[in-house]
């Protein structure tokens, strides 16, 4: 379970988050909507332990404190930055992160990961030679190498073509079936609605709407979202 209480984050005089409260139960699949600069990325970065809140409290159970190194091992964070080294090959990138994540770093296991994201046969190619979509596929393999319980996704469909998008939707469906918790910032309303079971809207650094998907059909939700973000 993730619990966020009165969270605030200030960058100089700009407040990215203001008194934000959010409780996420195990197995929740949340789509996070909001305009650019609403605070979605800031919230995800704080949850991932990449950014320190200016004030407020954050608990990721069983820990009673902000994300520690033990909690970080349970989190998979994927953003529009791929976190891949362009001058290493795909396999070298995965091997490097596997070693850091304490997971098997042998070539067959990593080649299997490459196969899962549709990059079989490209193991020894430098990432620099990959298209943006291929890099994003590899970034997905990298972020979830350690089979995390909590997925924090910031625009994860960026750069993926339709087959890549379908693959990632399937991946998320199996993650949901496996009881994983997911918070995903997304701009595509329909896709976000389709994937999630809970819809959260951030506006001006605070939660403007937090409802289960079952409470509104897509058209109703779209109308409400347009009104909230207007």
């Amino acid at each position: 379970m993730i619990e966020v209480r009165n969270l605030a984050k200030h960058f100089g005089r700009f407040s990215a988050l203001r008194n934000l409260n959010l409780t996420v139960s195990d197995g929740d699949f949340i789509s996070l909507f909001g305009k650019n600069g609403a605070g979605k990325t800031t919230l995800l970065r704080i949850l991932a332990g990449l950014s320190r809140p200016s004030s407020g409290e954050l608990y990721i159970k069983p820990s009673r404190q902000a994300p520690s190194r033990f909690i970080r091992g349970r989190i998979g964070y994927l953003s529009h930055d791929t976190s891949l080294y362009m001058d290493l090959t795909a396999l070298e990138n995965l091997r490097f992160y596997a070693r850091l994540m304490d997971v098997p770093a042998n070539a067959p296991a990593l080649s299997e990961r490459m196969k899962q994201v549709g990059l079989s046969g490209r193991e020894r190619d430098p990432v620099r030679s990959f298209s943006r979509g291929m890099q994003q596929r590899l970034a997905i393999a990298r972020a979830f190498l350690h089979d995390p319980d909590i997925l924090l996704l910031d625009e994860p469909f960026t750069g993926l073509d339709s087959s890549g998008g379908d693959f990632f939707k399937d991946y998320l469906a199996s993650a949901r079936a496996g009881g994983k918790t997911c918070i995903m910032a997304i701009h595509d309303f329909r896709l976000g609605y389709e994937i999630a079971d809970r819809l959260v809207v951030i506006n001006g650094g605070t939660i403007a709407l937090d409802i289960p998907k079952s409470s509104l059909n897509y058209e109703q939700f779209h109308e409400k979202l347009k009104h909230l973000l207007a």
């Binding site: 950014s51 080294y85 070298e92 850091l100 304490d102």
Partner: protein
Amino acid sequence: MYKIWAIFRKDLIIEFRTKDSLTSMLFFGIVVLVIFNFALGSLHETIRSAVPGVLWVAFTFSGTLGLNRLFAAEKENGCLQGLLMIPADRGAIYLGKMLASFIFMLIAEAVIFIIGLVLFNLTVWAEIPYLLLVFVIGTLGFSAVGTLLSAIAVNTRLREVLLPLMLFPVILPILISAVEATDIILNAADYRALKLPLTIMTAFTILFGTISCLLFERVLEE
């Protein structure tokens, strides 16, 4: 420990593949030596007393160039956030990067030193073990401070300017002691005088290294 090694190994592979840092470090260090060789060319008798300062100027400037590049690969594609997500103490990232910086500097120093010997026409076979000790401790101290300051500077717009501005005042005690120790080795017969500069260098290296390792996590988080 193996995480530190993995980070170091990754930096080594990238450097030997791209040669981004070492090329500029070596080029700059050699240019400094050549300039001093022309400037001090007439001082045949006393050139040996100028060499310690010349060598450490070349080491320091080339090392600063290397430090400027140390976190460049981590900034590209947000690799730093990938490192920050690892389930380990973030001091491991610091130690891995420091080790990489230390080794790159030692490689550059070895080449610069050999070219310096040729340019200044020096013979130092007997002094090499002592010089090696001074170079290793001095470089370790330089890398210990430089790695932390490089991580601070990489997030700023004026990183190339900011790094030396922050670095040089902090490493001054190590640099002065390193020049003094090198001077004792090359120009004085009594090696017992090495004790004081080596003690100062070692103390500052341990102090700076410990503080930098502890501060590293705070520096990397927004």
